[in-house]
Amino acid sequence: MKVAIVKYNAGNIYSVVNALRRIGIEPILTDNAEQIRNADKVIFPGQGEAKSAMEYLRARGLDSVIRSLKQPVLGICVGQQLLCRHSEEGDTDCIGIFPMEVKRFCPTCHEEKIPQMGWNSITDLKSLLFDNVMENDYVYFVHSYYVPLHKDYTIATVDFTLPYSAAIHTENFYATQFHPEKSGDVGSRILENFIKL
């Protein structure tokens, strides 16, 4: 099993490497188009800012590489947001696998602090990605922008200021807003499920 992690300027990629090693996978960390295309699974992680991330990906042609992939791809956090059409963050055109518009949270009360940072529960789970994951299980989020719900693409819902997409899916593309690599045993199961796809 060859698992490639797309290497780019959007932070904490090593925690994904560590999480995969914990489930017995030795991933390849790469920005090489051939290596990415030849992998059995591709993980597109991220923690950072959308505009500079997209500029970096475009400058290396990685946006079209990602768009052309046929094997299962898992976007994480900013990786999920970049798979959408456009992000309010820096008014950025993204890769466009999903038609959604990434928006910034608007807090409705003082208790809702941006970024959302911590454990929140996911519901309406409908994907093999959540095999052995229970409704209302908690996973770890750190983000200020979110992907709205979409009737065709949302495969998990979370509520913070409003219900939005905790995970999305179309064809071979999967993506989570939360960090499975930091979400304890639930997160490990989700990564294992992705590897088994």
């Binding site: 904490n12 999480a19 970024p115 690599e181 930091k182 490990s188």
Partner: protein, 252 residues
């Protein structure tokens, strides 16, 4: 449902080993922070804080190595702190795999440190830890583990830290620390009201009700404790069950 309140055990580390004793059984090495961190995460800790209390250069190197072993083994977020004086220290710790760093004395001495960290790595990695004491003339911040009083007031410094980009405030009340009579809930609630970033309560936990009070009266987003967990006086699974039964949103 919404964002859960967090329970955070804190481990003091010296020369790569935990300092305070523990009542955990089945530990191969009682002082191994990595193994202890794993047990805490398996027991339901939402995050872990590792504080380096080593003074020597060699000890610092050992701490960075420990951080990288923690990152390999522990599958929940963890924060590291103690002795962070410059941006380079932060870079080393984040590269070793820490999710967040906590700055304390060095930020009080040179507040620009917070701005430097957060403009490079984002607010979410920077926890500003504040040791403060209620003196006759109000709450004051202290340096060097509570040894040196500063003229910074708690609320004013917390606000400045927020403005400089800190993502969270970890507030330890020196009046309450080690006394086990509960957290400084009044000051906590005021911090929470005045700030727009999360506040972690620290200092004073002695029984389960104290955690509930920190979340309800003190309005804290998270509660940190050390000895009650290390000595097994409170187990995290029992605490989380209690809090959940009391109507607090907790990850079970």
């Amino acid at each position: 449902m919404s964002l859960a309140k967090r329970i955070i055990p804190c481990l003091d580390v010296k020369n790569g080993e935990t300092v305070k004793g523990t009542n955990f059984v089945n530990l191969r090495s009682a002082g191994d922070p990595v193994e202890l961190g794993k047990i805490y995460s398996e027991n339901g800790a939402d995050e872990i804080v590792f504080l380096d209390i080593t003074a020597s250069f060699e000890g610092r190197k050992t701490f960075v190595e420990m951080v990288s072993r923690v990152a390999q083994e522990v599958n929940i977020p963890f924060t590291v702190g103690g002795g962070i004086n410059q941006l380079e220290d932060v870079t080393n710790l984040l590269n070793a795999g820490a999710d967040k760093v906590s700055v304390n004395s060095a930020a009080l001495r040179r507040p620009e440190l917070i701005s430097e960290i957060t403009s490079l790595y984002g607010s979410q990695v920077c926890v500003c830890a504040i040791d403060a004491r209620m003196d006759e003339d109000g709450w004051h911040c202290y340096l060097n583990g509570g040894r040196i009083r500063t003229e910074h007031g708690l609320f004013e410094w917390a606000k400045e830290a927020q403005e400089r980009g800190a993502g969270e405030i970890l507030f330890t009340s020196m009046n309450h620390d080690g006394v086990k009579t509960g957290y400084a809930n009044e000051a906590l609630a005021r911090l929470v009201d005045e700030l727009s970033i999360p506040v972690i309560a620290s200092g004073g936990a002695g029984e389960m009700q104290h955690f509930k009070d920190a979340f309800t009266i003190g309005k804290a987003d998270a509660a940190l404790a050390a000895s009650v967990f290390h000595f097994g006086e409170i187990s995290i699974p029992a605490l989380k069950k209690y809090l959940s039964n009391e109507g607090i949103n907790i990850r079970l």
